[in-house]
Amino acid sequence: MLKLESVELQIANGNENVSILKDINLELEDNKFYALTGPNGGGKTSLAKVIMGIYKNNKGKIIFDGRDITNLSITERAKAGISYAFQNPPRFKGMKIKDILRISSDNNSLRARLRAVGLCPQDYLDRECDTSLSGGEMKRVELATVLSRPSKIVIYDEPEAGVDLWSFENLLQLIRDHHNKSNVISIVITHHERVLSLADEIILLADGKIVDRGPSDKLLPLLRTDSRCCWEDNCGGNDNEIKCY
């Protein structure tokens, strides 16, 4: 179980602090598949980074399986079983795909791990994780580094970004399989309706606050209505258009 208690995050911007996460209270249960959604800039990635320890929350506590991990470093949290697949995974000059796979896990079946994310090991094991890889290829490598780790919580930050729609279904299946096999808490940050519909629960985050949460079948229809423009009088939009924030 992962519990966030009154978590706040402020980030310095020039002379003032900008509030990114405001009084987040959240309990996530083992074996559940969560979709975290909401408008751009609403705090989704920041929340993921606070859980991973990349950002340090200014207030509040993070409790993981009964242990207060608020002051643990990224490395300690990784070792405790928290994994995070980056939205924009960094590239490394000179580091080969097989090198980063080896760092992520002692599991030696490098080839199987690459095949699972749809990359042919023959072509990719010795490729460098540099700018020669496309965004979609990089996302697959990222997924491969995360899926092979022994995790209790896995956060996927927009796994669909940059991946062609055709293969996304496969990658999503991979995330689902990993979830079912490993008894983990899965959190997928997404705007994708297909992912939202598969989640046990949807959490809606906007303006740094949890605005709503609930089972997918209840929340998804609400999101569909809520995401339509309702300001026809003001700006000429109509309910066929997606709401802008």
């Binding site: 490395t75 990784a78 980056f86 995974p89 960094p90 490394f92 000179g94 580091m95 760092i103 780790r149």
Partner: protein, 307 residues
Amino acid sequence: MKLNAIEQELLETIADLHKIPTGAVNIRKNGEGILRHSSANIEVRPKSDKPGIDVIVAPNTKNEAVHIPVMITMSGVKDVVYNTIVIGEGADVTVVAGCGIHNSGMEKSQHDGIHEIIVKKGARMRYIEKHYGSGQGSGERVLNPQTLLTMEENSIVEMELVQIKGVDSTIRDTKAKLAKGASLVVTERLLTHGNQKAVSDMTIELIGADSNAQVISRSVAKDNSKQVFRPIIIARERSKGHVECDSILIDHGKISSTPAITAEHPDAQLTHEAAIGRIAEEQLLKLMTLGLTEEEAEDVILRGFLQ
């Protein structure tokens, strides 16, 4: 010939030699040749007028290697050596040069290797030169290599110039002239630490039509060390060239990098790029999310970068 532990370490580091090689070889120690033999196709002979050797590779010699490492294990030695290497037409060989200095004394030890390399028509050479310094002494370890490469028509050369660690001061001067259809790739890897200084000057002239050259330099400056890179490609004919200098700063390292390109022919295609900066924070964060500490992550990133 028996090697002691220090000599063995130097040879392993600079030339990947775990035992005395059986093929063509010349090992120079503290200013003297201590082992030399030729093979059927590669002749290694001392120069008669000055210190150094001639390495003559017979035409069409394939898949052979020649090792010509230099070791300095005494403090206060200044060794200047002139080597001439001629790769015969159509040959395909590897030349492993390199120098290791073990200085445990107070005086400066210096090796200036002056190499003249001629790669004949259609020949192919891989040239590996690693530099390394060890020893706890306060005496400086200085290496100033000069390489003058002449490439004949359609020859191919790959040069790997590596300075691993422990060299206090180096001034590298590399010059290459490429004839028609010749192709050159130079990769340079440099790591400096402490108060070390490194300067690398490189001038590559594309003289023949359809020749091409690529210079890829990657370096890391740690502590208070300083590095200067000045690679220049000059295209005198229809040809292609690319220079790339990529450097990482750690602590208070300082790097100056000025790749330059000069075109003297309307059909020349030349590009250059240079980047200097700290390790990207995202890279460290990513590796830390995989369970590495910050120090381990930095080490992994630098090792990959300098690979």
